[in-house]
């Protein structure tokens, strides 16, 4: 079938260019973090003598040229070995594997919350354009974008964990009682904090996309031929307005993975954002490169999925 072949070719092209992006990202990260001043925390501490420093540099292989070290790292990476963390001596894949699920859970929850709330709000604002409600919701969006997550996070903890005592203040679960309910309770506050950064983006995209669509001739036609307003909005307007929103969601995913750094620190969430921060501060070269590769991989995969989602929503794109 011709269509099947075209889809296969499209996928192949996209995967090949995605792989290139990942290779480029890994090389860029590796060379840049190595160029940064300082070195691994074990040697950049006050109470280490010059002699100890030399021994450790040798043990970590940092006496070799950067190009040679990158070649060694890349040779391992092709086989799925991202090297050994300089800060913990554990395999990088193991360290990422421990943290990635937590970050995906937090980012995923924030994204789902943002979509479920953001699309209806954006649509309502478009339908009530210029009303007091529209202005009020726009105002809230602006606040959401402006409030720093670290502050909001602490305020949420003080209100819901300290004063009211309803929700736990930090961590993914209770050590003594690791149940699904406990995990959801722990997820609540960080999700709200993180979703606050993404929700306004979705609301704004949804509002402007819906406004554009509502002005289209076919909406007026649908309305004038006597269709119920609910059908016009959901069947005709929403579907078309979603196209730019889907691309906004795609762009949000890498931003969410980055945005988790602060949220994870405030809520002691053992995710990859905090790991990346530790790796950067401690100059854990293999770990920071490994994290970059994984995040780049996720970004590439999301872009691909978004493109595939387009073709589901908009049949016209299937041909091109």
């Amino acid at each position: 079938m011709v269509v099947g072949q075209e889809v296969a070719r499209f996928l192949f092209q996209r995967i090949a260019s995605g792989a290139l992006v990942i290779v480029f990202a890994s090389a860029l990260t590796f060379f840049f973090v190595n160029l940064a001043p300082g070195g691994p925390s074990s040697i950049m501490r006050f109470d280490v003598s010059a002699e100890q420093r030399e021994a450790l540099i040798k043990r970590m292989g940092l006496d070799k040229p950067v190009v040679e070290r990158y070649a060694d790292w890349a040779a391992g990476a092709i086989r799925g070995d991202l090297g050994t963390s300089l800060l913990s001596d554990e395999p990088v894949t193991q360290r990422i594997g421990e943290r990635l699920p937590n970050t995906l859970m937090l980012a995923g929850a924030a994204l789902v919350v943002s979509i479920l709330i953001g699309i209806p709000i954006g649509l309502i604002q478009a339908l009530r354009r210029g009303s007091a409600l529209d202005h009020l919701l726009s105002f809230y969006s602006a606040i959401g974008l402006a409030v720093p997550v670290f502050w909001l996070g602490i305020v949420l903890i003080l209100v819901f964990a300290v004063s009211l005592g309803w929700l736990p203040s930090a961590g993914v679960t209770t050590i003594s009682e690791d149940t699904l309910v406990e995990r959801l309770r722990h997820l609540a506050l960080p999700t709200v904090a993180l979703a606050t950064t993404t929700l306004p983006t979705i609301v704004r995209f949804m509002r402007s996309a819906a406004l554009e669509v509502l002005d289209e001739d076919y909406i007026r036609t649908a309305a004038s031929k006597g269709l119920a307003p609910r059908v016009v909005v959901t069947r005709h307007a929403l579907r078309n307005a979603l196209i730019p929103v889907v691309s906004a969601v795609g762009a949000l995913v890498p931003r969410l993975l980055g945005g988790t750094v602060v949220t994870e620190s405030v809520f002691s969430w053992p995710g990859m954002g905090r790991l990346a921060l530790e790796a950067a501060q401690g100059r854990d070269y293999p770990l920071i490169t490994g994290i970059t590769v994984v995040v780049a991989g996720i970004a590439v995969a999301t872009t691909l999925l978004v493109d595939l989602a387009y073709t589901r929503i908009d049949p016209r794109l299937r041909a091109s």
Binding site: A36, P37, G38, G39, S41, S42, I43, M44, R45, F46, D47, V48, S49, A50, E51, Q52, R53, A55, L56, K58, R59, L87, S88, D89, E90, E98, R99, N102, F150, W151, I154, L158, V159, A161, V162, S163, G165, P168, S169, A170, G171, V172, I175, S176, V261, V262, S265, V266, F267, S268, P270, G271, R274, L275, L277, E278, A280, Q281, G282, R283
Partner: protein, 544 residues
């Protein structure tokens, strides 16, 4: 470039958080342990869990180069040393029962406790001690942490199953004190193949000798300890001691307020009033073996004149720094020996350099620095101006800003160069490419400060200013050469007086630590929390 995000956040949030704390104080807090009528509990009882925060995942191996401050607390519970800091901070028996030095002072012999078992049931012997030193600490290619402290140790010899001898290349009277400081003994039968990077040990469930042992290590979340039934001493009262990873100091405060933590160091001193007013929490100040200093690089000829150093220390309003930056938790320092070392500390020096800009101006004038244009001091037509490197950590940034203002008042222009911590260490410590910088030293509970002041450590060791002085060298060696307490007291009294006079470093202040404890937590000795960790087996929780 600000990579040190957590410290940045800490500083930026502090102000906002204090405001938020004030608001939450108005809402009636639902504090656990707020019961006002505790049942009359006379003695210690067994049971319960105590949770304390640490900043990052620990490395459970005291000699690993990756065992940073977050590892120190837990390692002091897990791994006994030959000695430990006594409640007076003098070395007290731990795995060793007693110790003596040879008459020539060139060896120390330690008699080990018998019947000690590792947490896996294997007997502890003198071989473990010899292994820890000969095969780890004294092996140059391993780069073990704290190795530099044992430069005087040639080797450790097993005399018999319960006796070891440390053979020295020079006299080292402070050895028993140093062995109490992050010098836990490691199990030979587990680590002989790979002593420093066995991850099932360092990041898992190590075999240890202390009153607690690791039950579970969950990366990024917590390390749970349970009572070690094989412990040689009295069994621990607590069922569990949990170290929970909480990176953000403000979150630590919130967790303590919600009753999730029973003991912690309050890094964010701005929150101290809120903690004091919280029901169920008590706030205590503890002395530390720590002092802040300003190092003036002695390769810069402007700073080799002692009058300039004395002028600076007179021009800096150290009382104001303690008040504004440490909220009063600290005292003025004029020597490296801290008040925590009560047996040695000389309190008469505390008032040696009162804040006096006029006197500072006179001293600078005597050194040839006279006011030029705009009041800036100059000598040979060159203005007195230099750069201070500021590492982004703790209180260093506000302190440097205050020093900058104080020196400006006497006509000395300081430019501040703020740097991310890791890069700062490379520039100022590794390469010694700096003119002036502020930092602090924490050291074992002994006045032997040889590594930080001896001329052999100038330029490459811990002698950061690179100060070299035969008279000081002589005092440092004398202090190491006698084990007699009274003789040592006399030497270190002289050393305090001499250092306060010549100012190898400009001494700033001795900080105090603020500890926050649950009121139901008992049995914690009145020491800094790092030292109190050695007594975790004695901690207990009063029943509510």
């Amino acid at each position: 470039m600000k990579l040190d995000l957590s410290s940045f956040l800490f500083r930026t949030t502090s102000v906002l958080v204090v405001a938020a704390l004030a608001v939450s104080a108005c809402a009636s807090p639902t504090q656990p342990g707020a019961s006002t009528a505790p049942s009359a509990q006379a003695g210690p009882v067994s049971g319960g869990t105590v949770t304390m925060p640490i900043g990052a995942d620990p490395t459970l191996n005291p000699w690993s180069p990756n065992a940073f401050i977050e590892s120190l607390f837990i390692n002091r519970v897990l791994f006994d040393g030959l000695t430990k800091p006594g409640k007076d901070l003098a070395p007290a028996p731990d795995l060793a029962e007693s110790w003596t030095t040879a008459s020539d002072g060139l060896s120390w012999t330690f008699k080990l406790r018998s019947g000690v078992k590792w947490s896996d049931g294997t007997p502890f012997t003198a071989d473990d001690v010899a292994f820890t030193f000969n095969d780890i600490v004294l092996k140059p290619d391993l780069g073990a942490q704290n190795r530099a402290s044992y430069a005087a140790v040639k080797s450790v010899t097993v005399v018999d199953a319960t006796t070891v001898r440390f053979d020295l290349s020079r006299k080292f009277a402070a050895l028993p004190s140093f062995l109490a400081y992050n010098a836990g003994i490691l199990p030979k039968h587990v680590l002989s193949a790979n002593p420093l990077t066995t991850t099932t040990f360092n990041k898992g469930t190590p075999v240890s000798t202390g009153p607690f042992k690791v039950d579970k290590y969950t990366s990024g979340q917590s390390v749970s300890l349970v009572r070690n039934e094989n412990y040689f001493g009295a069994k621990a009262f607590l069922d569990k001691l949990v170290f929970t990873v909480v990176a953000d100091p403000n979150t630590q405060v919130a967790q303590a307020l919600s009753g999730d933590l029973q003991i912690m160091i309050l890094d964010n001193k701005a929150a101290v009033d809120r903690m004091k007013s919280a029901a169920g929490l008590s706030v205590v100040a503890r002395p530390l073996v720590q002092y802040y200093w300003l190092s003036l690089n002695q390769t810069d000829s402007r700073f080799t004149d002692v009058r300039v150093r004395q002028a600076f220390v007179t021009a800096i309003d150290r009382a104001a720094i303690i008040k504004s930056v440490e909220l009063g938790y600290g005292s003025i320092a004029n020597s490296p020996i801290t008040p925590a070392l009560a047996a040695y500390y000389d309190p008469s020096l505390a008032s040696k350099y009162p804040y006096d800009p006029a006197k500072a101006t006179d001293l600078l004038k005597a050194a040839g620095w006279t006011p030029g244009a705009n009041g800036v001091l100059q000598k040979d037509g060159k203005p007195f101006q230099f750069t201070m490197d500021v590492g982004q950590r703790g209180v260093l940034e506000p302190v440097n800003a205050l020093i900058q203002q104080d020196l400006k008042k006497v006509g000395v222009i300081v430019d501040l160069n703020t740097m991310e911590w890791n890069s700062y260490i490379q520039k100022d410590v590794v390469r010694r490419e700096y003119t002036a910088t502020v930092n602090w030293w924490t050291y074992p509970s002994d006045p032997d400060v040889f590594p930080y002041y001896h001329s052999s450590a100038a330029g490459k060791g811990f002698n950061i200013p690179g100060y070299q002085d035969p008279k000081l060298d002589d005092l440092l060696v004398q202090g190491q050469s006698t084990s007699d307490l009274e003789a040592r007291k006399a030497v270190y009294k002289q050393l305090q007086q001499y250092t306060s006079e010549v100012l190898p470093y400009l001494f700033l202040w001795y900080p105090q630590e603020i500890d926050v404890l649950s009121t139901s937590l008992k049995g914690v000795p009145e020491l800094g929390l790092r030292d109190a960790m050695h007594y975790a087996g004695e901690w207990w929780l009063a029943k509510k």
